[in-house]
C-alpha cells in the first residue's frame, strides 16, 4: 500500500496536518508511527485506513479488508458486547454461523467472555478497548491499523497485541501502529515512521553503539541545571564551554566524526551532548 503525495487538513482554511506525505508499506511489514501529541499520527493512520480522504494525493493499493482500532472505542452505544461484535462481523461479510464463531473465539481470546452480555457503556475503558481490538480482528484484515492499541489494556492483553500483529503479518497483511508509551519495543522488526511538521520520515535504526553529538546553547545561568537534567536523562555531557562560537570537535566518542552540517551553539554557553547515549537507554 502506498500513500502518494498526501495532503490533508480538517477545514478549508485550516492548517495542513499532512503535507505531501509519501510512504509505502508492503505485505508482511509493520510500521510504527511515532511523534509527539497532536502532530498528526492519528490523522495519518486514518488516511491509511480509509477513514479520512486526502485533500490532495491518493492512497493506492489499500487491501480490501481493513481493520481499524480507533484510539478511543465508541462505547456510547446501546448494544451488548456480543450483539455489537456479531453486528460488526456480519457487516464485515461473515455469515451467521461464521460470525458467531468469530465472536466466540475473539471474546475468549481477549478475556471478554464474561462481558458478552454486558452493555457497551457499562464497560471500563480497557475492556471497551478490547472490544475495539476484537471488532478489527473478526475477519482477518489485510491491513490492520492500530491507534495507540496499548492504551488502557491490562498486562496480559498488552502482551497479546504483538501476537495479533504477528498473525496479521504471517498471513501476508500489513500493520500500522502508533504508540507514545514506548510499548513498540515489543515489535523489534518494525519500521519507524516519524511524523513532524506534517511530513513523515522513515527513521532507519542505527547500529548499536553509534553516537552523535548535539551542541546546545543555554543561558549561562542555567548551565548547572541543564547539565544535571541531561545527565539525569541518561545523556553523556562531554564538555561545557563559555562561548557560542563553533568549536573544534571535542574529544570523546562520536566527536571525531562531526560534520559541518551539525547544529552548533549560537548563544550563551555551549553544551556538547552525546545524544545516542540517551537513546540507547
Amino acid at each position: 500500500m502506498r500513500l502518494e503525495n498526501v495532503w490533508l487538513r480538517y477545514h478549508r482554511r485550516g492548517p495542513w496536518v499532512l503535507r505531501g506525505v509519501d510512504v509505502r508499506i508492503g505485505p508482511g511489514e509493520v510500521a510504527v508511527v511515532l511523534g509527539r501529541n497532536g502532530v498528526g499520527k492519528s490523522t495519518l493512520l486514518q488516511v491509511a485506513a480509509g477513514v479520512l480522504r486526502p485533500a490532495r494525493g491518493r492512497v493506492a493499493d489499500r487491501p480490501r479488508r481493513v481493520g481499524w482500532v480507533p484510539e478511543r472505542f465508541p462505547a456510547d452505544q446501546p448494544f451488548t458486547v456480543a450483539r455489537y461484535l456479531t453486528g460488526m462481523a456480519r457487516m464485515a461479510g461473515l455469515g451467521r454461523a461464521a460470525a458467531d464463531e468469530a465472536v466466540a473465539g475473539w471474546t475468549d481470546r481477549l478475556g471478554l467472555a464474561a462481558f458478552r452480555a454486558v452493555r457497551l457503556p457499562e464497560l471500563s475503558k480497557g475492556t471497551a478497548q478490547k472490544v475495539g481490538l476484537a471488532q478489527a480482528m473478526l475477519r482477518p484484515p489485510g491491513l490492520l491499523v492500530l491507534d495507540e492499541p496499548w492504551e488502557g489494556l491490562d498486562a496480559s492483553t498488552r502482551e497479546l497485541v504483538p501476537e495479533l500483529i504477528d498473525e496479521v503479518l504471517a498471513a501476508g497483511g500489513s500493520v500500522l501502529v502508533s504508540d507514545h508509551r514506548g510499548e513498540t519495543v515489543r515489535l523489534p522488526g518494525a519500521r519507524h515512521w516519524a511524523v513532524a511538521d506534517g511530513s513523515v520520515t522513515e527513521e532507519t535504526p542505527l547500529p548499536d553503539g553509534t553516537v552523535a553529538v548535539i551542541e546546545v546553547a543555554v543561558p549561562a545561568a542555567r548551565v548547572a541545571g541543564t547539565v544535571a537534567r541531561l545527565r539525569a536523562e541518561g545523556h553523556q555531557v562531554l564538555r561545557v564551554r563559555p562561548d557560542a562560537r563553533p568549536a573544534p570537535p571535542p574529544a570523546g566518542p562520536g566527536g571525531a566524526d562531526r560534520t559541518p552540517d551539525e547544529p552548533v551553539a549560537v548563544d550563551g554557553a555551549g553544551l556538547a551532548v552525546d545524544r545516542a547515549a540517551g537513546e540507547a537507554r
Binding site: 480509509g50 477513514v51 481499524w68 472505542f73 446501546p78 457487516m91 464485515a92
Partner: protein, 229 residues
Amino acid sequence: MIALIRLRLAGFLRTGRAVAPLLVGLVALGILYGGGRAQPAEAYGVSAVVLFPVLAWQTKILLDVEPDVQRRLAQVTVGVARERLAGLLAAGGAALVTVAVALAFPWLVGGVTGPVDPADRSVPVGVALGLWAHLLVVPAAVALGALASRASVGGAGYGVAVLALGGVGAVVLGLTGSVAPWLAPPIMAAARTTAGDAAALTMVGLTAWALAWSAAAVGGYLVRRRARG
C-alpha cells in the same frame, strides 16, 4: 450492508430517541383529526404535509444516534458508498413505519369518514391517494434529515437550522402563487392534488418533482459528507 442497516435501526430504537418524533407526530395528527371528520384523500394530504418535518427530524435523530467514530468504523468495514446508503435506507425504513402509523391513526380515532356525496371518492381510492402523498414525502424528508445530520453539518445548531428552514420552506414555498415552488419538495402541491381533481398527469409530474428534489438533496448530503471526510 443489511447488517449495518439493522444495527442502525436497533441503535435508534434501543436508545429510546425514536419516541420523541413519533410522539410529536401523533400529537400533530391528533390535533389535525381532532377538528372533525374528513374524507381520506383530503385528510391524508394534510397529514403528509404535517409528517414532512417529523420524518426529517426522525431521520436526523436516527443518523445522529451513532457515535462519529462508530460511523467511521462502519465506513472502514463496508466502504464509503454502502455506509452512506445504509444510513439512508435505515432512515427510509423507519419513515415507512411512521407513515403506516399515520395512515392507520385516523381510523383508530374516527378522524375519517366514507363518501357522503355520490360525487365523493370511494374509501379505497382515497386511501390510495393518501398513500401516494405520504410516499412522496418519505424520500424528501429522509434527504432533508440526512442533510441536517451531524455527519453532514457538524454542530447541532446548524442541523436544527437546516431542519427548520427545510420544514418551513416546504410549506411557505409550496403555497399557491409561490415565486419559487421548485426550491421545495411538492408536499403542498400533493396535498392540493389529493383534495382536488387528482389528475394522473399532475401526479406523475409531482412524483418526478419530488424524486428530483430528493436526489438533489441527497446529492448535497453526499457532497457535505465527502467534504467533511
